[in-house]
């Protein structure tokens, strides 16, 4: 079969969505380092989309720049997706391991990231009348990524089409559950922290008094 470099594999996967991920699987290729780089780039793309979009197109509230929502929308969502997918597919006879899911999912995101970067770049030279081009670029990238993601999940777990679809929808539900539990946990811990802190202040006052 094929022989590629690490980046060559990425290129192969993106431009051959049907067989690319299968090859990746059977050749046991795909780099964790590259996939982490892609996740970081996803975050950078999000920030660029908010901050560097052409003035006429940018509807974001520019007075405050808060990095946390962007971080959640990119990095946190990605890892939640990986964990949720792994949890669901382990139960559904999926063959993918956590590392493979992570690598494949990240590889599938590349068209979307490229699309966002191209759109952000182009929006600085286009006017509102030409916004359709930006939309076209954006949705092309998004659609391509969705297609890749589907193929990635299909290949990594060796599923049929229907089972892949079902597992992906279930993964989204699982994502919601996980995020809900995380928020619950955070608020509980916050209360515990407040409780301990108030005991500490109480004791410190008494010692002083």
């Amino acid at each position: 079969m094929y022989e590629f470099t690490t980046m060559g594999w990425l290129k192969h996967v993106i431009f051959h969505p049907i067989e690319g991920f299968e090859d990746l699987r059977w050749k046991k290729q795909g780099s964790m380092k590259v996939s982490m780089g892609i996740v970081v780039l996803l975050f950078v793309a999000m920030v660029a989309n908010r901050q560097l979009l052409g003035f006429a197109f940018n509807t974001a509230y520019t007075k405050i720049f808060n990095i946390v929502p962007l971080l959640v929308q990119s990095v946190v969502y990605f890892f939640t997706w990986v964990i949720a997918n792994w949890s669901v597919c382990t139960l559904l006879d999926g063959e993918g391991r956590l590392k493979q899911i992570c690598i494949n999912s990240a590889y599938a995101l590349v068209p979307y990231i490229v699309g966002v970067f191209v759109m952000v770049f182009a929006s600085n030279f286009l006017v509102l009348d030409e916004a359709i081009w930006l939309n076209a670029i954006y949705y092309l990238g998004l659609g391509w990524s969705v297609l890749l993601m589907f193929q990635a999940m299909k290949a990594v777990h060796q599923y049929t089409v229907l089972k892949t679809l079902a597992s992906m929808i279930l993964s989204l539900v699982a994502m919601l559950l996980i995020l809900f539990l995380v928020i619950l946990l955070l608020s509980l811990f916050q209360q515990v922290y407040v409780f301990i802190y108030s005991i500490y202040t109480e004791i410190s006052y008494r010692i002083r008094g």
Binding site: F55, A56, K63, F125, V127
Partner: protein, 565 residues
Amino acid sequence: MKSMQMRKAFRRAAVLGISLVCACSAMASTAFAAEPYDSYCYDYWDDAIPAQAGYKVYNTYTGYDMNLERLTDPEDELYISESAPIDLNGAKDIFYEDVKNEFWVADTKNSRILRLDKDLQLIGCYSAIDGVPSGVANFNEPQGVFVTVEENGDIMMYIGDTQNSRIVQCKVTSMNTCECVLEIGMPDTPIYKSKTFLPEKILVDGAKNIYAVCTSVNSGSAQFNSLGEFQGFYGANRVEVTAEIIRRRIWRVFASDEQLKSMQSAAPVEYKNFDIDAEGFIYTVTEASNVTTDAVKKLNAAGYNIWNNDAGNTYIFGDAGANTYDAATNTSYTTRLTDIDIDSDGFINILDYATGRVFVYDEECTLVTIFGTYNTNSDQKGSFTGPNALETANNNVYIVDGIKNDITVYTTTLYGEYLKAAVLLYDEGKYLEAKPYWEEVIARDGTCAFALLGLGKAALKEGEYKLAMDYFKDAYARRSYDKAFKYYREQWLQDNFYLVFIVIVLIFILAIVLSILKKKGIIKKHVRKEKKQVERKKTKKELEHEAELAAEAAQAESEAEEADE
């Protein structure tokens, strides 16, 4: 230690001395009166930002300042009785009549109409009408007054005589007498469904049709022709779409006839007040709190809201947000727009009863300035407790307070004058003529978004596209920015056409040359690099594997040898 303490003490004394000097000089220089209100404006995001004050208090007139004691002086020609009240009491309306330059005030709780000259000095008082068909001569808490001057010079008063349930039109015959021309009682038609007829505000259009806003009538204002015949209702508000309304709408589909009968029907909120502009358009305001649908309308002759188009839904009046928090007084309030007035330049002035603020909009409904405040503990000139009505005349704004019982006159500051002059020119499309005024405005308030927009449009007209873009960016006018950028891009492409052309041609040539070179095999760089990397990888990863293989092979060989032996 001691020296350090001394040094500290010395420093303290020095600081004290300096601050004392500062305080003294401040006392000497702060002999000016600041406006009693916090001036602010709303930006693109509907965030309140500080702004320069557009209006300042000119004066406040109580009954004493208006010479109302003339009514109790037997020697005076305006004498009514010794016990006549010499103060306003719960005045509900003020009207400026521009032919004779006079003000008319509905002094509601005193059941009389006051006539004041342009300096708010008393020149007439009317508490009864002669020749009334129904025989009820005295006014009973009139809440609305409207005055016209006929072509023959007769002064015609239209009064919403609220507690007498009638509208009267009367001709002024002297300083304190008037003669009834028309008396309109409760309309006797099935269309008028309300059980009461309490006309509050009166308005007369060019065709002498009389409009009356009546208490708790929500189908619009009652409209009468010049003969006093009921014509129907005019310009009702729409029902605001809330979750409750939607729920009822859905229920209606499933409900039986009997259930339908017992169901509450959705009723719109009635509008509180109105005004007519020079072109005959009628503007209405709705006071009820939390209402955003039809809060302010501009009605044509058919009663159709001409702001009610696709773009019209974005018009916002009053303070942004349904419930607004005021940090200065630590209270939250709901805007209650109680009166509206269109001045001679077309500016829309809206009075907020809850906060005592007047919002000034231009004819395109863009916020120009905000002034006035609610009366807090410090009873200050220019603050209001019960602001009931406002009127504009000669660039001043007159506000009637029904609890403090006075009339406050606000006049424009220099900033306000420049701002209004600039806005007028801007709305006419004279961007270049407006430019010097905008520059004066921006010199006084650098964050005034309207001024930045105006300067941007002027720059755009002058062909300074880059400058226009900067202005629009600061004003956050995205559409205008886009327009300026379009021109800028066009200009740039024209100026740098050859550069662009050459770059494109160069890229083409380079691409062609590269492909030819690749075909001929002169360039193999890319392929070679890939191979190299693959090789390197092999050495790294598969060395062990190869070694293993070699070992296995060796073992197999030795085994074979053993077998041979």
